[in-house]
Symmetry: C2
Subunit: 89 residues, 2 copies
């Protein structure tokens, strides 16, 4: 089973707990951490904290970088960078 | 020849130009984009802009995530996330 955790503006620990829950309670084999724009740095913080402090057996299997198009406040299409970090046990 | 571009607080275009210069003028085969903390999102922006707008032949060969320890303003050691994006022609 694969699960995805989307990184937003909450504190890092919220997302760390979400990842730990997927691995521990839901028995996920892979958890994908996804983020866009400025939340990308926070996604790396979450991955590093999960791996270094809580689940040393978890590995980063893949890191995918990309671009999405979103509408800004004025309704104009703009590019925003994306990251997907695939963690697996 | 490998070259490294460190991402700081300048505008994205500065770093895009630095990467293009390494590939074009210096004939680098690989360029490594490195960033820490909040600059990580900007590093992805630079990589995406280089690849999508300027050098479509360039590939992301590897993305390494990690943690550095740095001293904060009070002299206390804190963890900061890092990224290395390896681009190659």
């Amino acid at each position: 089973m694969n699960s995805t955790v989307y990184i937003g503006n909450k504190s890092i620990m919220n997302y760390v707990l979400a990842v730990l829950t997927q691995f521990n309670k839901e028995n996920a084999e892979k958890v994908i951490i996804k983020a866009r724009g400025k939340a990308i740095s926070r996604a790396v913080d979450v991955e590093e904290m999960v791996k270094n402090r809580f689940l040393p057996d978890v590995e980063v299997k893949e890191v995918k970088l990309g671009t999405d198009q979103i509408k800004n406040e004025e309704g104009k299409l703009i590019n925003i960078s994306t990251i997907e970090i695939v963690l697996s046990k």
